[in-house]
């Protein structure tokens, strides 16, 4: 029962992350099942007293990167160029709280579709950080990347999402004109 007690609080987070990465419920269930099995088989490698959430998410993200995505037809890869690309000089507009409220009422599944456009590596970092509230340090450990890379991926994921949502806000007449700040 101890394994179940350790995992149970994270089941929703694991499933949600898998769902947002694979985009399909049955694929997400496969990925989470694979994660459970690997975690169960390797439980003796988990150091008691350390962060279990980080440990099991490491298994999930590795399964996604090494198993699931490798099988997908057109894996999205972040190139070194993309990692080191300087930030665009054009500032993405910030929405006011009132504009966000209006946007939220009309958003529908637009946020999901916007997120799907974000490349895998950026999306994964965004989900772990902003949706699942994981620290940069834990994300870096989960993905085996430096904290600086976590920050740059997060920056880009947020920028892409803001651009998409700002476009939508303009289409809906919520955000007027060009680039504000």
């Amino acid at each position: 029962m101890e394994f179940e007690e350790l995992v149970r609080p994270h089941v929703d987070s694991l499933y949600r992350t898998a769902l947002r990465m694979t985009g399909e419920g049955s694929a997400a269930e496969d990925l989470v099942q694979d994660c459970f099995l690997k975690a169960w088989k390797n439980l003796d490698r988990f150091e008691r007293g350390t962060n279990f959430k980080a440990w099991i998410f490491t298994i999930l993200t590795n399964s996604y990167i090494n198993d699931y995505r490798r099988k997908s037809r057109a894996p999205t890869m972040v190139t070194d160029f993309a990692e080191s690309e300087p930030a665009a000089s054009v500032e993405v507009p910030h929405l006011t709280a009132r504009e966000v409220d209006r946007l939220g009422e009309r958003l529908g599944d637009r946020a999901k579709r916007a997120l799907e456009k974000v490349p895998d590596e950026f999306r994964l970092v965004f989900l772990l950080s902003t949706i699942e509230e994981t620290s940069y340090k834990d994300i870096a450990a989960m993905l085996g990347i430096p904290i600086g890379t976590v920050m740059s991926r997060l920056f880009r994921a947020r920028r892409m999402l803001r651009e998409e949502l700002a476009d939508f806000a303009r289409q809906e007449g919520i955000l007027r004109g060009g680039m504000g700040s």
Binding site: R8, D30, Q33, K71, L154
Partner: protein
Amino acid sequence: MMCHEAKRQLDVFMDGELSVADNMKVLEHLNLCRPCAGVYEGEKALRGTLKAQLGAEKAPASVHAMLSRVSSPAALVEFPRRRWGAIAAAVFFLTLAGAMLFSPGVEGAGALASEVAAKHDEVRLGFCGQAGPDCLCLCAHCCSEPNHPIERFFRKHVPYDVCDHDLAGLGYSSRGATVSEHRGAPLCWTLLRDGKGHSITHALLATPLALGEKPLVFRSAPRPVVMVPTPGRPGFTCVFIFDDPGELSRFLDLKK
């Protein structure tokens, strides 16, 4: 702190990842600068909206059930995996002897396609959608029947994957498997389906057809059939059976 610095650090501030000193500087600035405080409020609202949109789903009951099954000690040994490649591969071993009994050439492939397509009609009815004595459902709800006869059957005879015609990249995943008899040898079938309801049945035949490298497409069999040589296993043939010509065309388009 200037406005542009505060905005640049705003995301890291909101993530709670700034040093204590930098955190204080941003806080001070937000208290003094109304426009930046407005930006902060907007960003806070946007995060709340995104979290509500993207972070609200709960895992379905099947995932919770999966966890309970995995954490039972027996599951470590017996927990079945969804692996249509391995399931299809069973045929390689199980029909090895049967394969030697006949070896039609390409000219025999048409007859075999008709035979398999006709057989498929019977077998397809056997995909019950639930675990039964002669049908193993591979969906998330019933895939963990450790002592299911078909699961034991695979476990005993399939030491590793043989067939690597992986259709996961085309969006298909295995939904059910069943076993039938074909020319005196047990034959395993796997039903694959994608998220939009398109289906393909896959079987692996131990028939040494001289197919060459190109797949053979039979549109006029009782159901459309594509025969593909198994990579690295000459003499064995993967068979994909489609519900109708439309499904076949769709599959061929995807494979292009």
